[in-house]
Amino acid sequence: MNVLIIEDEKALARELEIFLTNYNYICEVCFDGVSASEKVAVNLYDFILIDLGLPDYEGLDLLKEAKKNNPDAAYIILTARAEIYDRIKGLDMGADDYLAKPFSLLELQSRMQAITRRKFGLKNNVVELGDFLVNLTDRIITHGGAEISAITKKEFDLVAYLILHKNRTVTRNQLSEHIWGSIINDDYDSNYIDAHIKNIRKKLNAFSPPDWLETVRGLGYKIKINT
């Protein structure tokens, strides 16, 4: 899939490019509004990531302009000025999602996946993990056809996030940020991910051992799926 990254912070733009290329996206990068405006007029993209705080261009104007030639692209707004009104305005003008800086690259990837699933109608939404089936659309885990209802919303979120980033180690920090990122509180080292994983393992173990859920010592967790 083609991604246009419009970000004036060159260091950040470069990291986005590296990360998305790793996830098999084809990336183009613009550091300013003028060249971005030229690019969107000529090329077609699947994803356009726009930093609202461009020095030479009003970000929301650029969004409007891009939508003319790229009406089917998915738009994600990136901004450091996380003003609430900007957010409402951006979503009103047809942006698909909004990420406030600083954001985790994994979070960006999961948002892009979600949009892909929604926009491009990804069918295969059931993932097989050992004896378990995880349905990402209905948000349930089943074993032998029966739903495991003991799994809470939070626990499912964790499993789904690990599936999305399958075969990679996801750190506790990244999981925490995904699960509790919007909560503002003053603990900077609170880590209850381990407790959650323990609960998930206990609940699944009642049916069969979830060997696919690995602990990567000292780092985080990983879900192994052989493809």
């Binding site: 912070e9 260091a11 950040l12 990291e15 986005l16 590296i18 990360f19 790793n22 450091a80 000025r81 996380a82 003003e83 609430i84 009104y85 406030a100 800086k101 600083p102 954001f103 985790s104 690259l105 994994l106 809470t152 919303k153 939070k154 990679r168 180690t169 750190t171 920090n173 990244q174 940020e177 509790w180 919007s182 909560i183 503002i184 509180n185 003053d186 603990d187 900077y188 080292d189 609170s190 209850y192 407790a195 959650h196 609960n199 000292g218 780092l219 985080g220």
Partner: protein, 424 residues
């Protein structure tokens, strides 16, 4: 004034006596005129003396030949015996010669009747005096009120009523008095100075935290990308993770400061409606893992659920989350937390009661200050912005917070919701 009041009876008595004396003299002149016109025979025939008095003997006139060769013309207080009564009179005595004989005229008015007049006179004078005093006081009050009206207006509109310092609209207080004008302007200038300092502080926090977001974002992305590289040894990954943790701390502080400054700049809408039970359930869903982790007994009592209106759901969630989170953080292993939602009189109240470490009385006034780390939590790291978030969200919604705490016993945070937040 007091001297005047004290002397009043004497004065009245004096006036009354002068009046009595002038009456006596008039009477004398009348008698002498009659004698002159009609002759002494009109009163005295055959050398007998003349005497007349009113039935109650308050006034008498006597005229007789005087055997003593005096020349009296005075007024004195004397006692006379009239028939059986001994009465004190004020008496005018006057000698005159007519037809080579000496006569003595006496006219008396009894002291009693004189005093009878003194009483009413005194009370009339007293009433007048009192009313004048009252009138003077009222006039003084009205006048000073009028004169001092600009001052009371300054006090009323600038200092009390509105919370001081009252920012925003400045309304000049109209006055012709230079001092008041000066006072008004000075207060206004003081408020302006405070306001601009406040504003600068807010802007600084807002700008600083915004500006920090981009570098933090770059660092975070770099660490995440490095973490995913295949040729990075696990040992190095552990160190990257430590960097990520530290970066998280920086991020957390910056985000919190930014949130507080956004709340203070009123950049949030208050248009949501949510029931207290739903809000507490949301908090529970997010926080249950922490309760479980510390083996805390958590109890929610909602006597009568109510809807909160004109609120920001996101902010209120964070308010409750932080209060319950604090109650967990500063609790002991296996402790209790009780959340009670109830109506106290006309007020809607939510109490969060913990059996934790408590706050000492000396520290209590400072718990809402930023970066004040008063209680050292046992297992977690925090940077002292939890309660400042709570405070700024509460202020933004006009929710009153009362804190009661006892060291080593626990704390109670009580939230009192103002009526405009209560929906049907």
């Amino acid at each position: 004034m007091i001297l005047f009041v004290a002397l009043l009876p004497v004065l009245i008595k004096n006036i009354n006596q002068n009046y009595t004396d002038s009456r006596l003299r008039k009477q004398k002149d009348k008698v002498l005129k009659t004698v002159k016109e009609l002759g002494i025979k009109y009163y005295i025939q055959n050398g007998e003396s003349y005497a007349a008095y009113t039935p109650i003997k308050d006034v008498y006139v006597s005229l007789e030949e005087d055997t003593l060769n005096e020349n009296l013309d005075n007024i004195k207080n004397e006692v006379r015996k009239v028939e059986a009564d001994t009465i004190e009179y004020r008496i005018l005595s006057h000698n005159f010669h007519i037809e080579k004989r000496n006569y003595l005229l006496e006219i008396g008015i009894s002291q009693d009747s004189v005093n009878e007049r003194t009483g009413p006179l005194q009370s009339i004078a007293f009433v007048i005096l009192v009313s004048m005093v009252i009138l003077t006081i009222i006039a003084d009050q009205v006048y000073s009120d009028y004169i001092l009206r600009p001052l009371s207006l300054i006090i009323k509109t600038k200092l009390i009523g509105n919370k001081f310092p009252n920012f925003g609209s400045y309304k000049e207080v109209k006055t012709s008095t230079y001092d008041f004008h000066h006072l008004d302007i000075s207060i206004h200038q003081m408020i302006q100075t405070i306001e601009s300092t406040f504003q600068k502080e807010r802007e600084f926090i807002s700008n600083a935290s915004h500006e920090l977001m981009t570098p933090i974002s770059i660092l975070q992305s770099k660490i995440e990308n490095m973490f995913e590289e295949e040729d990075v040894a696990d040992e190095l990954k552990v160190r990257l993770l430590e960097m990520q943790k530290i970066l998280n701390r920086l991020k957390s502080i910056t985000k919190t400061l930014l949130l507080i400054s956004q709340i203070e700049n009123e950049q949030f809408l208050k248009e949501d409606k949510i029931s207290v039970s739903a809000l507490l359930q949301q908090v529970y869903d997010e926080i249950s893992i922490r309760l479980q982790d510390k083996n805390i007994n958590y109890q929610v009592n909602i006597n009568n659920d109510w809807n909160l209106v004109n609120v920001n759901k996101f902010l209120l969630f964070n308010l409750f989350f932080n209060l319950v989170n604090n109650a967990i953080k500063y609790n002991k292993e296996g402790g209790d937390i009780k959340v009670e939602a109830l109506k106290e009189g006309n007020a809607y109240v939510v109490k969060i009661i913990d059996t934790g470490l408590g706050i000492s009385a000396a520290d209590l006034p400072f718990i809402f200050n930023r970066f004040k780390k008063l209680r050292q939590s046992l297992q977690q790291e925090s940077f002292g912005l939890g309660l400042p978030i709570v405070k700024s969200i509460a202020d933004f919604h006009h929710i009153k917070i009362e804190v009661a705490s006892e060291k080593d016993k626990g704390s109670t945070f009580k939230l009192i919701f103002s009526p405009e937040l209560i929906g049907s």
